[in-house]
Amino acid sequence: MALRERLQELHDRGLADIKKGDSLDRINEIRVQLLGKKGPITQALRGLRDVSAEERPKIGSFANQIRDELTAAIEERNQELKKAAINAKLASETLDVTLPGTPVAQGQPHVIQRIIDQLEDMFLGMGYQVVDGPEVEDDHHNFEMMNLPKDHPARDMQDTFYITPEILMRTHTSPNQARAMEAHDFSKGPLKMISPGRVYRRDTDDATHSHQFHQVEGLVIDKHVTMADLKGTLEMVAANLFGDEFDVRLRPSYFPFTEPSVEADITCFNCMGKGCAVCKNTGWIEVLGAGMVHPNVLKMAGVDSSVYGGFAFGLGPDRFAMLKYGVDDIRNFYLNDTRFLTQFYKRG
């Protein structure tokens, strides 16, 4: 057989063998067998001596071409087999991706804390400070400096846990108004503060009463702070906590430490103002008390009421949480049932 024909045949048989090879080992075997130093192609090329000088380069070139083609085929087949092997391995590793993931322990902030934090963040953004004060207060700050002298009938509105005749569990966060005003240097600018905290009333615990609850006090004192500013601020609070779709309305009320005094209502969540049992068919729900700081309160805190004035408000995060999330029993906040605590994680 002529050399060229022999090469051709090696080539064709080689390709067929490669194609049939079903493992990397087999392919390696074929490579060594075909292309090794003792392999048929190398052997065949030794026969070039017998070829005419004219034909020799052509056959040489043909032989090189065949060797290259076989090498490429081997490489290609190798890749195919590797890929198949990987695919087979991956197929064997398939999981049930619907099985649950491994739980990671994660706690939640208390729902009242969420409301307080949200309010703090809003007021911090408006340049307010957050201040705190003692939970065990003296009568002087809790009542007298709030324009509630001894024997004032409005003291009956806040049934008090006394420790001694002069020391008590604070009934509201309002004494922090007095404390903040006493401490503030008005030459450095306005006083803008909120003060969240626990307060205590001499109440029997039931679904709507708790001897312990929370308040957030707010106070702004400057040379020109208006009732309109109070209204705008309360609207911000409502929008921030409940959303833009809620309206705020003010009604006259009475607190000894503010004059004028107002109560703020917001659109009923339950019926969006149409009237329902929750809002006693008024379409409104009372959410907080506020007013312009009473001149007596300013005076007692050493602030010149002819120059400075401002507004104060007090709101109840417990009540807000009850309204916002439909919590029907205030005791839930203080019994700390984990099934209750872990509910409050959603954004809205």
Binding site: A105, P134, P153, T204, Q212, T226, K231, Y254, P260, R339
Partner: protein, 803 residues
Amino acid sequence: MKVSMDWLNEYLTLDVDPQTLGEKIERTAVEVDQVYKMSDGMSKLVVGETLSVEPHPDSDHLHICQVDVGEDEPLQIVCGAPNVATGQKVIVALPGAWIAGHHKIKKSKMRGVASNGMLCALQEIGFDEKIAPKAYDEGIYILPADSENGSSVFPILGMDDDIVETDLTPNRGDMNSMNGTAWEVGAIYGKTPKMPTFSLNEDGSRKVSDLLQFSVDAALAPTYKMRVVSGVTIQDSPLWLQKRLWEAGMRPINNIVDVTNYIMLTYGQPLHAFDYDKLSSHHIHVRLADAGEHLTTLDGENRTLRDSDMVIADDKHAIAIAGTMGGLDTEIDDNTTTIAIESAIFDPIKIRKTARFFNLHSEASMRFERGVNKDDNQNALDHAAALMAELGLGQTEQGTGVGSDTPVEPAKVSVTLTRINHVLGTQLTVDQVQNIFDHLNFPTDNDGETFNVTVPARRWDIHIEADLFEEVARLYGYDNIPSTLPYGTMTPGALTFKQRIIRDSRRLLEGAGLNQAISYALTTTAKAEQFMMRDSEPTELAFPMSTDHTTARMNLISGLLDDIAYNVARKQKNVALYEQGRVFYRDGDAIRPLEVEHIAGAVTGALTKKTWHAEADTVDFYGIKGIVDLFLHDMGLSKPVHYEATQAHAQMHPGRTADIYVGDQAVGFVGQVHPEIASDYKIPDTYVFELNLQALIDAPHDQQQYEPISKFPDVTRDIAILVDQSVTNADVVALINKRGGAHLADVQLFDVYEGVHLPTGKKSLAYTLTYRDRQATLVEADVTKAFDKVTAALEKEFDAEIR
């Protein structure tokens, strides 16, 4: 106050529906509890006439009545009322009628006899026991003889009248009367109310000054006056007067008592009527009681008075608790003929204290507490005398007996337009403001800027400029005030260092798997005193409401254990809580406690439950300690943290508790709750920690700085040693660090083994030591040299066997 629209319409012509009026009052003056009719929810109640009343053959108390209800045929109705008789006008609930309590009347048979409706008592058509006239307590109500058969009973009884029930704030005592309410509603609608009129005819032959003498302490009763009406006949009041009373929630008694109440509703001036002939002397005293003095009040109670209670007395003894309740001895009864009417103003604070002490909160005491209009005091007395004489067919004796009559000057308050607009944020004009004061009927003049306002005595709540701002604001309307935000000098809004640490603490513990709890800060003294970190006296309430909440807590853990107990009792096995809040320490002689911020955690069961894929993350000592480690690491404290075994906490497991130190300052503890305490709380094994957060805030904190990462590789060496059980990990680590040489960067415990393969009393500890040189590659020989020193030290110090 329950305000009748019919009555209000006598003052003002208002073309407004009651709901709208209620809304308007609520937005402008005071809260409105409800707007209603007494007939709400009821129907088909008509006048009937009993044509015949026969005894029921099968009953000893039922009657078979034929009742004319204005139809062709009478209705047969079986009735059990003892007072039913022929020829009465009665209230008939027709078949299909709704009566009180959502009760529907149906045709029925009573002991075999058809009954087509019901004859009603007032209680059955919604009258409260407390307001239905006493005469009809035990039976059906008898309507006036001229009532038309078949017509609705609602107008006859005033039940179709709209009632606007106001809920007054303490400052608006003026609205505790029809007059005051009319002034207010008039101001809202810009109308002037027509005040009540009467004609007083002093047709008696005697002078009151001859009938009564007075010794009145004007400090107790700034105003004290009496009139005398004689020759009266005690009888029921006319229906119009009874209706006024029961619509206002008061019970008709007789013509004299009803007049005092009617006048009180009209003027807000409480009156008291004494039976003149029952006075043991005609010298009336207003004085403080003698301590221990006795008086039997109208309700039959024998009361022991205090020397702070005001009384009305004759020469011998007290005859009334001033302004609160009359005495039984001088009560008006059916035989009374001569009435001494008292119209007084008493010290509101004394009244309040007395009413509170005796729990006698009456319509009268409530009005005295909130204030009485001095300007109407004489009118009320005169009007009462005129009406008693008229309704009792008697004569008014001449003149008024005056025990005291301290004048009240009207408040004069000036306010400028500039100030009003400055405070309200409005742009009101002179005319707008003047108009408001005019509508309030406050005599006011202005010079285009300053308003000089004379406040009538009926608005005793107004004294200062700010009070007038409120009048202007509410009558102008809060809806009309613009919405703005405070402007002026900018102020930074930022949390303080302390507030940031507190917030970060919460996040950190939540990240570690604990839920934030808020427990009661008031607990029992026993629980308040558990888990304490220092000596302290308890801070206890003087008058607690319940035995569970008497004392300010001195630890947070006990509250968390209460919470865990609550959960465990509800089958929640895995509970992980933390709380941040204050504890209240009080040193022996101090009155006020020190309030210290603490943070505490408590875990029972597992942080994460066992799943198909992972074991439960059950918390043990090292689990809770890991949380504390993380927490303290994140605090970035300058001084090192270390733990020391302690048996000092009585409520903690003596072998599984560590005190936590920052430097040499104790800042808290961590460990297992003593099993006996856990059993007291009815909880399973629970691990807790409590830290003095304030101490951590106050401790020095590291400044954050970047530490370059070494370019040269670390070299590590492992060592396992066999030591006595008594040698602690802390001892070993301390020694390794001490002897480790300049390049020792870290020591990590990676194995602890105690058990059968080791000699008794021994344990095996294994550590990885990491060596690092930031300047050069470590030379193997140098590391070996350093490591050998550690090995030698361990052998020497702890008699350790290197394994």
